[in-house]
């Protein structure tokens, strides 16, 4: 079982993103689970969401404390929220930022592999959200596909088209572009 924890801010779409990732894996025959951290979310407040992907039925029903993969939708959360808590040694971190992976360091004991991608710019190019508050959940799923190989970019794009009724083609293209632009 692979456990993925999303960190974002209210309005960026972390919860929906966790759900779309589950849908993409389901399309590839996996057992899945996706859920938010159940707050009464407010725009801009830190939000956590979770996805589990497994070959066998998923029974566990608690939060994810030791994720294999972290997806960080907003780099301003670094330092503000204990993001890397429990991250498995050798885990992967996918960050929405215009900077390079070498610009970031996480606790050495975790030794995570860092991937960066400028989802905010991609989302703005495709008119997703506003330039001030772009909605980047669909784009960053392209990077998750690239960085982890958990799901194919095709499944991600299909799941986006099914789950996002508004501007679904643009959302899917944003994911493809993020897939291509992911840096490691």
């Amino acid at each position: 079982m692979v456990e993925i924890r999303f960190h974002g801010r209210g309005g960026q779409g972390a919860v929906k993103g966790s759900d779309i990732l589950a849908m993409a894996a389901f399309k590839e025959g996996k057992e899945v689970q996706a859920f938010p951290s159940f707050g009464v979310e407010r725009r801009g407040a830190p939000v956590t969401a979770f996805t589990r992907i497994s070959d066998t039925p998923i029974r566990i029903h608690c939060y994810i404390y030791d994720p294999d993969i972290l997806v960080i939708l907003d780099p301003t959360l670094i330092g503000a929220v204990p993001l890397t808590d429990g991250l498995k040694p050798g885990g992967k971190v996918i960050l929405n930022t215009s900077r390079q992976p070498v610009d970031f360091s996480f606790p050495a004991t975790r030794e995570p592999k860092i991937y960066t991608v400028d989802c905010s710019s991609i989302a703005v190019r495709y008119g997703l959200g506003t330039p001030q508050a772009p909605i980047i959940n669909t784009a960053i799923l392209g990077s998750v596909a690239k960085a982890t190989g958990l799901v194919s970019i095709e499944s991600v794009m299909e799941a986006i088209q099914e789950k996002i009724p508004h501007r679904s083609a643009e959302n899917a293209k944003a994911a493809r572009e993020a897939f291509d632009e992911t840096r490691d």
Partner: protein, 384 residues
């Protein structure tokens, strides 16, 4: 057909698959999407049913009672304060022997104002005569709604059922759910044909003045129906398994055969406990899980049969009966009367507090090292 659904969608699709005739419900977080989806399904013609918009939960159940009394199959859904507002009519519907099915998203009672998981809302309805199921996953939510109509509508039972799902841990969690084919479901669950209905052409009454001459026997018959329901639940579980391949009994034992420590639990905590038990077994600890599916009728004999040779039994309650113990703990202890087991009562996860693998492993540690204790608070913070 398999789909990725939240527990609330599974509940709404369960009612749809059961081809209910009347839905009356009032929205309350975290149940709201059940009502939203059903209103859409009725509005777009997918389900030919009457959707009654009401001004409160009390009215929702009242509308279901009226409709069920004239022969309709009805469904409603609620949570916490909404369930409490229905309380008078929860008694009424069971005593009138109307096999309504209600999904209750288990949510903590206020104050403090909370929308999170806690079973105290439904456990407060323990003595009303309703049957009660606690689900572990979204598939079970869908399946339990189908089975509850079949069990409740059995002429020997004629009782309503509360199908409980944990707030957020099921209601807002997406999981894979098999929805089967409509033909298979229709073959399993025929339409509702009650023996007695309110009919102007054949005048009769429900719930008329009942003197001490008769009230006592009405109560006796409700108790007999609950006892009979234990057999019907097993029969229907067998039929369900034959058609759909999944078995749901009164209880769900997991690795209990040779266990030295068994955790008795209900709802989603059971899934996490099963995972914890697998990890403990890897380290040589003989642990097991006994999930109680039906709180009413209470499966005392089944629990006793499974636990009578288990040295240590711990009960995890996501609820507390103030002034006493966890409610499932006291009921489990009652059916183990005379059994030489060390009993532990754990209170965990109230108001949606997460119950992690580590929490559950910690409970097994307590059972292995400490003396029996009927009231152990897990993870309580310093409140002094």
């Amino acid at each position: 057909m398999k789909k990725v659904l939240t527990g609330n969608f599974a509940a709404a699709y369960g009612a749809t698959a059961a081809r209910v005739n009347v839905i009356a419900a009032y929205p309350i977080t975290p149940q709201t999407t059940i009502v939203e989806i059903l209103s859409e399904i009725v509005a777009n013609g997918e389900l030919k049913a009457e959707f009654v918009k009401v001004e409160s939960e009390h009215s929702a159940l009242a509308a279901c009672i009226g409709a069920q009394a004239v022969g309709a199959r009805t469904f409603t859904a609620t949570s916490a304060q909404g369930l409490a507002l229905m309380h008078e009519l929860i008694h009424w519907s069971a005593r009138a022997r109307l096999p309504i099915v209600m999904a209750n998203v288990n949510r903590a009672m206020a104050p403090g104002w909370s929308i999170w998981a806690d079973a105290t809302d439904s456990i407060s309805e323990r003595d009303t005569g309703w049957m009660q199921i606690y689900c572990e996953n979204n598939q079970e939510v869908f399946d339990s709604i189908l089975m509850s109509y079949k069990i409740g509508e059995n002429p020997d039972i004629m009782l309503p059922t509360l199908v409980n799902l944990d707030a957020f841990f099921l209601s807002h969690t997406s999981q894979v759910v098999d929805l089967y084919s409509p033909e298979e479901i229709d073959a399993f669950l025929p339409s509702y044909k009650p023996e007695h209905i309110l009919d102007p052409d054949k005048p009769s009454s429900f719930g008329a003045l009942t003197s001490p001459e008769h009230y006592y026997e009405f109560s006796y018959k409700i108790q007999k129906a609950h006892e009979e329901a234990k057999k019907v639940i097993q029969t229907v579980a067998g039929e369900f398994q034959k058609t759909f391949g999944r078995f749901y009994g009164l209880v769900d034992p997991y690795r209990c055969e040779d266990a030295e420590c068994v955790l008795v639990c209900y709802g989603t905590i059971a899934g996490t406990a099963k995972e914890a038990v697998d990890a403990l077994r890897e380290t040589g600890v003989k642990a097991g899980v006994l999930r109680i599916r039906y709180f009413r009728p209470f499966p005392g004999e089944e629990i006793r049969r499974i636990l009578e040779h288990v040295p240590k039994v711990g009960v995890i309650d996501r609820s507390i009966s103030y002034g006493n113990r966890g409610p499932f703990f006291t009921e489990t202890r009652d059916c183990l009367s005379g059994v030489q087991a060390g009993l532990y009562g754990f209170i965990a996860g109230l108001g949606g507090r997460d119950v992690s693998l580590k929490d559950i492993q910690g409970m097994v540690d307590i059972m292995r090292k400490d003396t029996p204790n009927p009231l152990i608070w897990i993870g309580v913070k310093d409140v002094c």
